[in-house]
């Protein structure tokens, strides 16, 4: 269970429309109306909204998250369309985040969306992370991932880390001060990495759904989250494993904040 004794912030009650919309998930034990209110009053930063981030954002919008902050530069390309499910053929050549906004509001018109047509950089990371209660890292560049990691540790915010390759996926959750951070796992980007790599949309969609569920559990404070654990999935043979992961007691970023 998630050990979070903080009082809930001032929250707005659910409307009748929201109760009707989220009825099926409010039947989930340990979630209920309180969990739904927590989602309504929460914000999540999703960086970028590609194969992983599209599905994370879509599932969070469907679940009734109050606010999404979406950071992603560039325009929709043909090669996005096998997996970036918030992008459409009609949106080719247009802004990715605006395409994402349009699709998300079709699903959930109550959703607040802040779009930033930029990827994570040293200049914007502090501001982006400060707008969210939870971060979901879906970025393709390890430099972006390590930058986000540095900022969530500084701001003590949870981060769900989703990754994919070919038919494989990794998922973990970073709770600063309680779990290893990304820098504990890999202090620098790998020396060999291709920015473009083989993957199916069904793989990114699967791990995007898992990442969204982690974010929902963190916000609504139920279930067991992946702090200190890494799930690996291989859809070639449908093998799912949960590894325990160690923090680096000498980590230059988070060693000092652990009790």
């Amino acid at each position: 269970m998630i050990d979070d004794k903080r009082p809930d912030p001032e929250s707005s009650e659910l409307t009748d429309e929201e109760r009707a919309t989220y009825e099926w998930q409010m039947w989930v034990p340990d979630f209920g109306e309180v969990g739904q209110q927590r989602l309504k009053n929460a914000s999540v930063l999703v960086t970028r909204c590609g194969g992983l981030g599209s599905v994370v954002a879509y599932e969070l919008a469907a679940a009734g998250i109050g606010k999404l902050v979406l950071a992603h530069a560039g325009q929709v390309k043909h090669s996005d369309l096998n997996r970036q499910l918030l992008m459409t053929h009609a949106g080719l050549g247009k802004s990715r985040v605006e395409s994402a906004r349009r699709r998300l509001l079709e699903l959930n018109p109550r959703l607040q969306i802040e779009t930033v047509a930029e990827n994570v950089t040293e200049q914007n990371v502090q501001s982006l992370v400060s707008q969210a209660d939870v971060v979901v890292d879906c970025a393709p560049l390890f430099e972006e991932r390590l930058l986000l990691n540095q900022e969530v540790v500084a701001q003590r915010k949870p981060m769900v880390d989703c990754a994919m390759y070919e038919l494989e996926a990794h998922l973990t959750t970073i709770i600063p001060g309680r779990s290893p951070c990304l820098k504990c796992l890999y202090p620098q980007p790998p020396q060999v990495w291709r920015r473009e790599f083989p993957v199916f949309g069904a793989v990114s969609g699967m791990v995007g759904c898992l990442g969204a569920m982690e974010a929902i559990k963190i916000i609504a404070r139920f279930g067991d989250i992946l702090a200190g654990k890494l799930v690996t999935c291989n859809l070639r043979d449908m093998t799912f494993r949960t590894m325990t992961i160690q923090r680096d007691i000498h980590c230059s970023l988070c060693a000092d904040i652990h009790p």
């Binding site: 970028r48 590609g50 194969g51 992983l52 981030g53 890292d137 879906c138 970025a139 393709p140 560049l141 390890f142 991932r145 989703c162 990754a163 994919m164 390759y165 070919e166 494989e168 996926a169 990794h170 504990c184 796992l185 890999y186 202090p187 620098q188 980007p189 790998p190 020396q191 060999v192 990495w193 920015r195 473009e196 790599f197 083989p198 993957v199 990114s204 890494l230 690996t232 291989n234 494993r241 949960t242 590894m243 325990t244 992961i245 160690q246 923090r247 680096d248």
Partner: protein, 92 residues
């Protein structure tokens, strides 16, 4: 003693297979195993698991059984143990 090695993602693609069994002497450590793998696959694995100084590349996560062992290569191995080399991946 026999150790089952699992390779994931980029390592699997580089080698062309995802698993193999390796014979190592009794009382071998993880470091001994990595040295053996380096000799067995000099070209294909080297760029992923070693840095320019020939040291083990920290962006490959090492797990013995289902436990990540961090940077401790002195971990002793047991006969029949499974070791996984996870090369880190990202999004897109």
């Amino acid at each position: 003693m026999k150790i089952r090695i699992h390779y994931t993602t980029q390592l699997k693609m580089a080698l062309g297979f995802d698993s193999e069994e390796v014979d190592v002497p009794p009382a071998s450590t993880l470091l001994d195993l990595l040295q053996k793998l380096k000799e067995m696959h000099p070209g294909k694995l080297k760029q992923y698991i070693l840095n320019a100084q020939g040291e083990f590349q920290p962006s490959v996560l090492l797990c013995v059984g289902d436990k990540h062992v961090g940077r401790d290569l002195s971990v002793p191995l047991q006969d029949g143990e499974e070791v996984t080399l996870l090369s880190v991946i990202s999004g897109g």
